[in-house]
């Protein structure tokens, strides 16, 4: 009789203590969560303010005035725009020149290295773009 009573009372007391400890730690965690939530909301409000400010500072009228005053920029005219294709068409060396350049390149380059050709360069660029794509997508999304 006495042994079982002792057993049960020890059990009951340990459960009570255990419960208290758990309850207390939950309470602490909830407090922390509450504080974090408050921080998040404060930060969000601050971000919102900064976004508004960023947008305010980026008013086209302001940017125009600043770039005119500080950078000496003007509105572009059509003659200033040239496509890459036109640039290539105009400045591309003729075939004879290209052949010479290639020769020099081959001579100078180690045997294993191929002379760089245009296609390769374009492929590299598009690879670079691939690498950029997820970042660009993310940026777009966040907008």
């Amino acid at each position: 009789m006495r042994r079982s009573t002792l057993l049960w009372s020890v059990l009951a007391i340990s459960v009570v203590i255990g419960l208290f400890v758990v309850k207390h730690s939950v309470q602490t965690l909830e407090d922390r969560l509450h504080a974090l939530n408050a921080d998040i909301i404060t930060d969000r409000d601050a971000i919102q303010v900064m976004e508004a400010e960023w947008s305010y500072l980026n008013q086209p009228a302001r940017l125009e005035a600043l770039s005119k005053r500080l950078l000496g920029m003007e509105a572009p005219v059509a003659a200033q725009t040239v496509s890459i294709q036109e640039l290539l068409d105009q400045s591309a060396p003729d075939d004879a020149d290209t052949a010479k350049l290639t020769e020099v390149a081959v001579k100078k380059a180690p045997a294993a290295q191929r002379p760089p050709d245009r296609k390769l360069a374009i492929e590299q660029v598009s690879e670079d773009e691939d690498w950029l794509k997820p970042i660009l997508a993310k940026l777009k999304k966040s907008q």
């Binding site: 909301i41 919102q48 303010v49 976004e51 947008s55 125009e64 725009t81 907008q143």
Partner: protein
């Protein structure tokens, strides 16, 4: 329990009353015991049920904010590229419980030290009132809030509130609209989408592009000042999607100060104002006649003599006094020729055509400020005649732009929208003229800028085409000679139009530079040229180099005497 068991005591027999009493006691004990057992069993079952099987946990003290959860205020409005145009910021508003104020006079004086711009007497009266709640000042800055807190007046308290901010200032103010102090939309998109903005989680993207909008407002402002106009309106619309990329009405207002906005400034000239547009309507008359087949590009009309009907005389502004071909009629903006074109189509045809391009009812754009066109009560011959060159039917500039878009984009009318459309969401629209007629109209409009009344609108490299318009403003029963609505409506690039641009000036006055003329070709066309030159690169259009394809798309045969007569004036 331990120890030896005692031998059972001698049986005692209890009889009689005593026995009955003990029996009763035992029975009662049994019943009570059973009841208690049942009660505990029920509680036990319930405990297991609640703690193990039920989902209803103890109410949480706080919960974590979901990662993608937005703040709960009014949704932001952004432009088509995601630039923030309207947002809600948290502010604190000061209120008081006057019943708890001990010394109103002292409190008001103290408050004035923290908030210098308040009216002490007014605050004191508020604090004296016998109410439980009065606003003292809305939307304090954090610095002001700190100052008020430092005073330590017990009856004062702060309410977290939201304040609508428009970081772009007055840019696109008429399209955006504004909200009152309680964040209810009062104008523009803010009003039209008021309910949706309250509940919406993600941003609302408009079709407006702030860069284009800025260029439009800037150039309109320059033209307005130069020609001392009382107002101006400008629109840029994507002809293939119906999206309005820029919508500007001057003079404008700052939506950040909703209290100070004058009723006159709120007036949206692009959608609410209806005007007799003048010669720009010749685009519709010519397209209608070409589409109906009553005349071809090679055909023409005799414009030697003015037309007299009832008490009116219809004459040409720069009369050529000879037979004119259709391109010449369009290029020189001949009223006589245009009237004859409309009459050949007939009155019902004319009315049906204008109905089909939406000229008879308000434009269904996402704004509450849309003006209903002023149409003639009874459509007689004289109405058809005047409407053919843009008098006697008043429409909003947006009507005109939507109609012209349909004339140049291959013949499909689409309702203008202020909401960004993904390429997959573009409305099918309805066909109003044949694609072939639209191609002819493009040539004609290009001709006006190359050789006709719209030469001032040229923007090298972007193949602008358009039509001038000048109308006298209606005042009472007549027309005011000196008060003009001068406009120019253009599309570019003309071989494959992408955008329609309209510039309209209200009561522009001629200056020396324009030889005193305040007509569309002199005051509005140069603004269009300047705008196109600046917005085309922004909109991703490359300058078009002269090519066989372009020449083929825009060449036009002008039958008639000569297309190269010296220009006298632009109309």
């Amino acid at each position: 329990m331990n120890g030896k068991r005692q031998p059972p005591p001698e049986k005692i027999r209890i009889e009689g009353d005593r026995k009955t009493a003990i029996e009763t006691g035992r029975n009662r004990l049994m019943v009570a015991g059973a009841l208690f057992t049942a009660a505990f069993a029920v509680i036990g079952v319930r405990v297991v049920d609640v703690s193990v099987f039920s989902d209803t946990a103890e109410p949480r003290y706080s919960r974590s904010i979901a990662k993608d959860e937005k703040h709960t205020g009014r949704a932001d409005i952004v432009d088509r590229n995601g630039v923030l145009m309207a947002t809600s910021l948290r502010t604190a508003s000061l209120y008081a419980n006057p019943r708890l104020v001990l010394d109103p006079e002292q409190a008001a004086l103290q408050l004035a030290t923290a908030l210098p711009d308040i009216d002490v007497k007014d605050i004191e009266n508020k604090l004296r009132s016998n109410r439980g709640f009065v606003w003292l000042k809305r939307h304090l800055t954090p610095r002001q809030q700190y100052a008020v807190n430092r005073l330590g007046i017990p009856a004062l308290n702060f309410q977290r509130e939201e304040r609508r901010m428009y970081p772009m200032g007055s840019l696109a103010a008429h399209a955006l609209g504004f909200t009152d102090i309680d964040n209810r939309g009062l104008a523009g998109v803010e009003r039209y989408f008021d309910k949706e903005l309250r509940t919406r989680q993600e941003n609302m993207a408009l079709s407006i592009d702030v860069r284009v909008q800025h260029v439009m407002e800037h150039e309109l402002g320059v033209a307005m000042k130069k020609f001392s106009a009382i107002g101006a309106a400008g629109l840029v619309m994507d002809v293939n999607t119906g999206e309005v990329v820029a919508m500007s009405s001057l003079p404008s207002f700052d939506p950040n100060q909703p209290g100070d906005i004058d009723q006159d400034l709120r007036f949206n000239r692009t959608t609410l104002g209806v005007y007799e547009m003048g010669s720009t309507f010749k685009i519709f008359t010519t397209a209608m006649a070409l589409d109906a087949g009553t005349v071809s590009l090679e055909g023409g009309y005799d414009a030697t003599n003015p037309i007299r009907i009832a008490r009116f005389t219809i004459r040409d502004f720069h009369a050529k006094k000879r037979w004119l071909s259709v391109p010449e009629i369009f290029m020189y903006s001949s009223n006589i020729g245009t009237v004859k074109m409309a009459l050949d189509v007939g009155i019902p045809g004319h009315r049906n055509f204008l109905t089909s391009i939406g000229m008879m009812k308000p434009v269904a754009i996402e704004l509450s400020e849309t003006g209903a066109p002023l149409t003639p009560d009874r459509w007689r011959e004289i109405n058809s005649m005047t409407i053919s060159f843009g008098h006697g039917l008043a429409v909003s500039p947006l009507h005109l732009v939507a109609g012209v878009s349909a004339m140049v984009n291959g013949g499909i009318y689409r309702t203008p929208t202020l909401i960004r459309r993904e390429p997959t969401e573009v409305s099918v629209g309805k066909r109003v003229i044949a694609a072939d007629t639209s191609a002819k109209m493009r040539r004609l409009m290009r001709l006006v800028v190359e050789n006709g009344t719209g030469r001032n609108a040229a923007a090298p490299g972007y193949l602008v085409g358009g039509k001038t318009g000048t109308a006298e403003k209606v005042s009472g029963h007549g027309y005011k000679k000196k008060a003009l609505i001068s406009s120019f409506v253009a599309a570019f690039p003309m071989h494959k139009p992408r955008y329609v641009v309209l510039v309209m000036l209200d009561e522009a006055k001629g200056i020396k530079e324009t030889f005193g003329y305040a007509t569309g070709g002199w005051v509005a066309a140069p603004a269009v040229g300047a705008i196109v030159q600046r917005i085309a690169p922004v909109l991703g259009l490359r300058p078009i180099k002269d090519s066989a394809e372009v020449r083929d798309a825009l060449s036009i045969e002008i039958s008639g005497r000569s297309a190269r007569e010296p220009r006298i004036a632009s109309h």
